[in-house]
């Protein structure tokens, strides 16, 4: 089993606040892993450490076996980690198509003199980039909306476009920050379907943050639970659903003890 992403004792502090504390995580290749936890548990901070926006104080992040701690965000993206945002952050005044083209940026190699002179290499590369963008647009089901400005797209389409943009860089690891936030039931069902096929269809690993338990339980191979920055549990969806510490973190102590008893009785 190849490991795509591994964090070792990852710790991020903001002044006195420990946002992420000693988190160990191992994500196998082509799996779907979820990070869950109550609000303020440090999930997004964890994402920001992986993508290079924050530099962790302690610990290590290994991507395909090499440490990426201290790298700039653009370098990490170039290595093969792409992400989406909790509150959609597309480039609002660019067309959907151009958004994807920007996503392809790290894969494109042509330089500015080539751009001015329109060298053969640059033109071939641009043509291939356009083709790839069209393919991705189709892949996320937005064919026909490519020339719309991103800000004019409906909400669900914006979420999908954000994923298409992230896929533009041909990542090996895709980080999704609450991909179904604000979606209705049908849109959520479509999104679950879409995420579930990603590892098989295009061979990438997915790590997601999600609040919607139905989503998490139905697509995750592995779930890690954060609470106050610490990892309090890890395992398959079934294991997590039964874990008393998780229930305590979500529902409070009383609920957990009540459940403990029933668990014990059942055992």
């Amino acid at each position: 089993m190849n490991v795509t992403l591994e964090t070792r004792a990852l710790t991020k502090r903001f002044g006195g606040l420990v946002a992420v504390s000693q988190v160990d995580l191992v994500i196998p290749e082509k799996s779907i892993a979820s990070v869950i936890g109550p609000n303020g548990a440090g999930k997004t901070t964890f994402f920001n450490c992986i993508t290079g926006f924050y530099t962790p104080e302690e610990g290590d992040i290994l991507f395909n076996g090499t440490s990426i701690v201290g790298f700039t965000p653009d370098r990490i993206t170039t290595l093969g980690i792409a992400r989406t945002y909790q509150n959609i952050r597309l480039f609002p005044n660019m067309s959907a198509f151009e958004n994807i083209l920007v996503g392809e940026h790290p894969r494109l190699k042509s330089t500015w003199p080539e751009a001015i002179l329109h060298t053969g290499r640059q033109q071939r590369e641009e043509a291939a980039a356009l083709k790839e963008a069209r393919r991705l647009l189709r892949f996320v089901g937005l064919t026909g909306l490519g020339d719309q400005l991103a800000r004019n797209l409906p909400y669900g389409a914006q979420r999908r476009l954000e994923i298409a943009r992230a896929l533009g860089s041909s990542p090996k690891l895709l980080l999704l920050d609450e991909p179904t936030a604000g979606m209705n039931m049908q849109e959520t069902a479509e999104m679950i379907h879409f995420i579930r096929m990603l590892p098989e269809e295009i061979g990438i690993t997915v790590l997601l943050i999600e609040h919607d338990m139905r989503v998490v339980m139905s697509i995750s191979d592995q779930i890690s639970v954060l609470d106050y920055g610490e990892k309090i549990a890890e395992g398959s969806p079934v294991e997590i659903q039964r874990n008393p510490r998780v229930i305590e973190a979500y529902l409070g102590r009383g609920a957990a003890s009540g459940l403990d008893n029933t668990e014990a009785e059942a055992a």
Binding site: D74, H118, G144
Partner: protein, 531 residues
């Protein structure tokens, strides 16, 4: 009824105050003078008065149109009443003003001590040469009538129909052009496209030969602004880096060519125009990078303040006694030599006009090529959201430096042409107002839009040249225009349009070329969910 009337009274007060302000600074006299001179050969007392009444009626109609602005649950009758009220209020306020200044004037007090434009003659003129009370009555009647007329006109035209009509016309023109078979053919076959562009270029280059010396010089000035507008369009319009010290790069280009070609300073280095021009552009670009490095981490307001300071530092350095042995201090550099080709001197206004047009064409070419490449896309992405742009793998450091360098190179080229054409460059050619003017060109025209730069440059540089008599009020007009534009058309006169990439390409390519939709992918969003 109340909100309509309240709205109308407020409009009336505002317009009344505007009329008073315009009179206090003597704008009515100047405008009447221009208008009378424009329509009649020699302005006489009567024609001047007629012009004044005409301008006042226009103001009154505008006030009436504002007053007639329909609110919720308002009827046509109320709107007409609103127009009438707005006009009447304007007239009332101006009438009070007229009585006051008339009384002061009758006392023989000279107001020019406090307000330079308020000479007895000017007051007489504003009072139509009548006693104050009669004049006040005339003003009330005039504005009430004009207000009502304005209200009727605005109701006839429909609310905001004018601006929407303009927008509609523009889109119609563009779409009808895009859908014509000619345009399709042009878009499909690059050779036809090249021929059309070639014809346009030839036409542009033929322009200087049809113009006289004055117009070649005037349009040349506009052209230099277009060139600089294209440069700042890259920095501000595309990359979103608010640069208020843009004139510094212009100065660097101008002074480089000045120092290297003028016999006055540093004569040991004297070289001919062409290598000096190229050096000027390169040094300007390097200056752009040098400025770029320390401000890389700054965003928005902070960036604007630092670049503003940088522009001023350059100007003060040029002026300073410290460097006056080298840069000429406040005297500047004279006798800058012009270009020549095969022994033919190219220093006529026409020759410069041709060089300016060629430079603009080059700048447009470079801009378009950048826009259609990953470099240009990374600039726009940075403007839209710098953090996300970086997360998309864009190296924001090099991307910003690139934008600064290209923008500075355009400004440097503008400076080279400016200094060489005037055969002189001084520190005052590099003052802050130039930066602001160039920025205004881009804002008025439309950020990130190439045609917008032309529109903006003609509006802001061409019009004042044509209306030379307005010069005293140029700054005032500038400010007013900018404020109006920011309110009415924040996106500029000719906003940029995103290229249609998906549709055009799919038209040409075979649909079957792309792989099938993977199973489970959701179908395209239907029209319903769009609304």
């Amino acid at each position: 009824m109340r909100p309509t009337i309240r709205n109308a009274i407020i409009s009336g007060i505002v317009f009344g105050l505007i009329v008073i302000l315009m009179d206090l600074i003597g704008l009515f006299e100047t405008l009447s003078d221009i208008l009378a001179g424009f329509i009649f050969d020699k302005p006489t007392e009567q024609t001047l008065l007629a012009s004044l009444v005409f301008i006042l009626v226009l103001m009154g109609m505008w006030a009436g149109a504002r007053g007639a602005q329909p609110l919720e649950s308002s009827t046509r009758y109320k709107e007409r009443l609103g127009a009438l009220t707005a006009g009447f209020t304007t007239g009332l306020i101006v009438a009070v003003f007229v009585i006051i200044i008339g009384a002061i004037n009758a006392q023989g007090i000279d107001m020019r001590k406090y307000l330079a434009q308020m000479s007895p003659d000017s007051i007489e003129f504003f009072l139509f040469g009548k006693p104050p009370l009669t004049a006040a009555l005339i003003y009330i009647l005039l504005f009430t009538a004009a207000g009502l007329a304005g209200g009727l006109v605005s109701l006839l035209l429909g609310r905001g129909r004018l601006s929407r009509g303009y927008e509609k016309l523009r889109t119609q023109l563009l779409t009808s052009w895009e859908t014509t078979s000619l345009a399709r053919r042009i878009n499909q076959f690059t050779y036809t496209q090249q021929v059309v562009y070639g014809v346009l270029v030839v036409l542009a280059l033929a322009l200087p030969f049809t113009l006289g010396q004055y117009w070649n010089f005037t349009l040349g000035t506009v052209g230099i602004y277009v060139l600089m507008g294209l440069g700042i369009n890259i920095v501000v319009g595309l990359a979103g880096l608010l640069d208020l010290g843009y004139v510094a790069f212009f100065a660097v280009g101008a002074y480089t060519v000045g120092l290297l070609t003028s016999p006055q300073q540093l004569s040991m280095f004297q070289i001919s125009f062409w290598p000096a021009a190229i050096l000027g552009i390169i040094i300007a670009a390097i200056t752009g990078i040098i400025l770029g490095i320390p401000v890389l981490r700054l965003r928005g307001d902070y960036l604007a303040i630092v670049t503003l300071g940088f522009g001023e530092i350059i100007r003060i350095l040029i002026r300073s006694d410290l460097l006056s042995d080298y840069l000429g201090g406040p005297q500047g550099i004279r006798d800058i030599s012009g270009p020549s080709l095969f022994g033919v001197s190219l220093t006529s206004d026409r020759a410069y006009m041709i060089m300016i047009i060629l430079s603009i064409l080059l700048a447009i070419f470079v801009t378009i090529r950048f826009q259609e490449s990953r470099v240009g896309r990374s600039w726009i992405a940075m403007r839209e959201d710098e953090t996300v742009a970086q997360a998309m793998g864009i190296n924001t450091y090099t991307s910003k430096l690139m934008a600064f360098a290209v923008g500075a190179a355009f400004a440097g080229l503008g400076g080279v042409l400016f200094a060489s054409r005037n055969q002189y460059i001084g520190p005052e050619d590099a003052n802050l107002l130039v930066s602001i003017n160039v920025l205004a060109v881009v804002i008025v025209g439309g950020m990130g839009s190439i045609p917008g730069v032309f529109v903006g440059a003609f509006v802001l540089k061409g019009l004042p040249e044509i209306l030379r008599q307005l010069q005293d009020y140029r700054i005032l007009a500038f400010g007013a225009l900018l404020v109006v534009f920011m309110i009415v058309r924040p996106e500029g006169l000719w906003p940029s349009k995103r290229r249609r990439l998906e549709m055009r390409e799919t038209d040409l390519e075979e649909e079957a070329d792309s792989p099938p939709i993977p199973p489970g992918t959701t179908p395209p969003v239907s029209e319903e969910s769009l609304s």
